[in-house]
Amino acid sequence: MTQSHRTTEPEHRKPTTATAMRLIVPLQGVVQGRGGLILGSLIPCALFYLLQFYLKRHRSPNPPSPSTSSSNLAGLPRTSSRSTLSSRGSLGPVRISARGSSIAKPDDSPYYIGLNKFRDDPYDKINNPNGIIQLGLAENTSCLDLIEKWVSENLSDSIMGRDGDDLSISGITTYQPFDGMMELKVAMAGFMSQVLGQAVSFDPSQIVLTAGATPAVEILCFCLADHGNALLVPSPYYPGFDRDIRFRTGVELIPVHCRSTDNFAFSITALDQAFNQARKRGVKVRGILICNPANPVGNIIPRETLYELLDFAREKNIHVISDEIYGGSIFGNEEFVSVAEILEAEEVDKDRVHIIYGLSKDLSLPGFRTGVIYSYNESVLAAAKKLTRFCSISAPTQRLLISMLSDTKFIQEYLETNKRRIKKLYDSFVAGLKQLGIRCSESSAGLYCWADMSGLIPSYSEKGELELWDKLLNIAKINVTPGSACHCIEPGWFRCCFTSLTHEDIPLVIERIQKVAETCK
């Protein structure tokens, strides 16, 4: 899943925004009722007030804002016009929609707050050694050198596409099929197959290409659920889903809590309970969204569980969306089974299964915006294809990728090296945390580890967790993602992304954590 480096505009420093935050945010906490009614009302209120106090203290001064930088726009007024308002009585500035307003609100999730803070003060070994080190964005830079090398050796041919004597950029300037060029679908099918070690063969005609996995997930939700319906999502889950899915579709996400005692594996019993509870509330569940390999925990769903999941989905007649974006980022010894493998082997209901994929994680190319919907349902494919007009992949990039993905030798080398390097970083990072007495859950995939820092939090609660998160961000100056942002029911867990670190960075990170850890004992 594209962990978009969501560098939102720096918070407006206007007092009205801060006030709004103070009102809206605690109310959200009540509504979401994280962790039960009482916890859900008191704790979020208290902690967010606390949060703002800390944030206020630690804000960096005067970040540029789009408003102030437009001084070259002669006399553009900041206030809206009031003098010619309609006599119909609509007072105040022209309004944006309710959905627009909810999106316009300042970010209140630690996930986004951390990303913003990082943007204002990013660590740089030479230029900003005391800056914030980014461990909150699942980005993998460990193998970019391989991509760089490939591009420098192949680029001009791959875009300009020398076809005989013809300099053929005409093949990419004109309108292309919105759901992607067929050659790219073919190359992508081959790539997806390579990622799975040829365990599955993918059919290009079942592929719909999108500008990133973010719109891919949204399109699927638009196709499978109506406004007000819900999806069950095993939690902890990727914080971005809350935005990506709920922003515009109006589809609700119902977390299905998993526990550390099960190493955060989900159970069908829990899914069933959540399904029934939703039904009692009058909410129609349309599907289950799983991430496999999982984010943020990094575990892999066992084959048997996938079978059980498909049975459950059939029983309830709902969909299964399997986000397999980390399928090529497996460093452990556990066998990764894609849901596609099961569907190929068995005569099961294929119509309800849909896979999300993309190149942002496995191929480290989030900037190129390349996502995949893979479905067995013709109607879904037909609808999704039409919706890609809103999010097509840019043609020169498609050309480049066709070339790169078809270079199966390069891809093979890349995938193998990638796994090795991720593992090396994982081992080193996890060992470093272990020295501090911080244990990580068992994981075999992903660009992150799931660390149990409950021993360091002042109180075994979301409030305590966020206090630690804040210390880590503002004192240790490392941006990690707290479990509460991922809807984890157990406090104290943190996702730490390590694949953008070099081996030299790791001891520095551990050292910084240690300093804060000492103050917590």
């Binding site: 010619t84 308002l85 309609s86 022209v94 944006i96 991509i147 097509s392």
Partner: protein, 442 residues
């Protein structure tokens, strides 16, 4: 004896959006494309095939692009150890590449002859104008609300503005009595129509230069539109995707110019949509922008743009191209000249066949009046004529009814997506068709 009847298993359901017909792909507008796809004209291999005159694509200045890319190899070889590849590969910031936004802002200024200024921080990047229009609609209107759109309008709006957003389009009726210009009466009438149905109007969306009319909107009309929007306290979206395709720079007035003249009073309700698909002939690159004078809209649009970002590679490539002033000045000028020439060619060709068009001064198409040819002055009459144009004359042109034109008999005919030779062939076919009709009459 019990008879067992095999019950079909209940198939898993899809959403209303998925099964809705709002995508509109069953309309004649798209049916014509299908006919073309099945039998496309090709000069040497299929000279009797269907000529595509229903696609507003600009190929007249393609050679300038090709030349640029050949001479500026660093634009396309940015991988060769060029600094920034790594950052580019990772860049997914929904603010968009700064150099790209800067280049886009200056390109938009150039197109307007420097008569309006654009701030790079008000530019939001999207994968095409289609996405930009949908995104703005999500932000400005809630499900069930309405946007007022002057007719005739681009058929794609029915889908782009309504499908996922759940909003309604209420037409502002325009007719040939005044060259289809928007009048204050028509604006009020449309607003009242919405009111009478208890539908809340959130904004007006205009396309300037207009598609399908192929004409720019006059300054006085723009002033009226802005005043109307201010009186009703609603938004004004100006889709200026064809701004660089106005045959002469001075004839196109952008809403941005009106705002500057008013010192940006009431500007927070104005939003401009732009794209490189028409002016620069790069629809495959998927490059669109929203330019908003409203801070909240800019913020919200930016966040929402994560569903429709432009590849960083493309942003990088275009930042380079669009900031090359020598190239852009020459391109804009040459493109205008060539489009004007094409326009002249088709107008004269049609006139000599006895067909008149609306006086146009922009765009990649002309608005042709075939109402004298209709059996009956109705939509059915128009579609019957459209059908013979498609199947007998083998030309795919767009019927006015698919553009919601209130007067039957008008057709949009694209002229920039083909070579001059092909246009000659098309004109000849029309000539023959008209001559046959004359003979049949006599």
């Amino acid at each position: 004896m019990a008879i067992e009847i095999e019950q079909p298993s209940v198939s898993v359901g899809l959403s209303k959006v998925a099964v809705s017909e709002t995508h509109g792909e069953d309309s004649p507008y798209f049916a014509g494309w299908k006919a073309y796809d099945e039998n496309p004209y090709e000069e040497s291999t299929n000279p009797s095939g269907v000529i595509q005159m229903g696609l507003a694509e600009n190929q007249v200045s393609f050679d300038l692009l090709e030349e640029y890319l050949e001479q500026q190899p660093e634009a396309s070889t940015w991988g060769k150890g060029a600094p920034g590849f790594r950052e580019n590969a990772l860049f997914q910031d929904y603010h968009g590449l700064k150099s790209f936004r800067q280049a886009m802002a200056s390109f938009m200024e150039q197109i307007r002859g420097g008569r309006a200024k654009f701030d790079l921080n008000r530019i939001v990047v999207t994968a095409g104008a289609t996405a930009a229009n949908e995104l703005l609609t999500f932000i400005l209107a809630d499900p069930g609300d309405a946007l007022l759109v002057p007719t005739p309008y681009y058929p794609g709006f029915d889908r782009d503005l309504r499908w996922r957003t759940g909003i309604k389009i209420v037409p502002i009726h325009c007719d040939s009595s005044n060259n289809f210009q928007i009048t204050p009466q028509a604006l009020e009438a449309a607003y009242k129509e919405a009111e009478s149905k208890d539908v809340r109007v959130r904004g007006v969306l205009i396309t300037n230069p207009s598609n399908p009319l192929g004409a720019t909107i006059q300054r006085s009309v723009l002033e009226e539109l802005l005043d109307f929007a201010t009186r009703k306290n609603i938004h004004l979206v100006s889709d200026e995707i064809y701004s660089g395709s106005a045959f002469s720079s001075s004839e196109f007035v952008s809403i941005a110019e009106i705002l500057e003249a008013r010192q940006y009073k009431d500007s927070e309700r104005v939003h401009i949509v732009y794209s490189l698909s028409k002016d620069l002939g790069l629809p495959g690159f998927r490059v669109g922008t929203i330019y908003s004078y409203n801070d909240k809209v800019v913020t919200t649009a930016r966040r929402m743009s994560s569903f429709t970002l432009i590849s960083s590679q493309t942003q990088y490539l275009l930042a380079s191209m669009l900031s090359n002033k020598k190239f852009t000045e020459n391109y804009i000028k040459t493109n205008r000249e060539r489009l004007q020439k094409r326009y002249q060619m088709i107008i004269e060709g049609l006139r000599s066949a006895g067909i008149e068009c609306l006086k146009g001064n922009a765009g990649l198409f002309c608005w042709m009046n075939l109402s004298p040819l209709l059996e009956e002055q109705t939509r059915e009459g128009e579609l019957a004529l459209w059908d013979s144009m498609l199947h007998e004359v083998k030309l795919n042109i767009s019927p006015g009814s698919s553009c919601h034109c209130s007067e039957p008999g008008w057709f949009r005919v694209c002229f920039a997506n083909m070579s001059e030779q092909t246009l000659e062939v098309a004109l000849k076919r029309i000539h023959n068709f008209m001559q046959k009709r004359e003979r049949r009459r006599n």
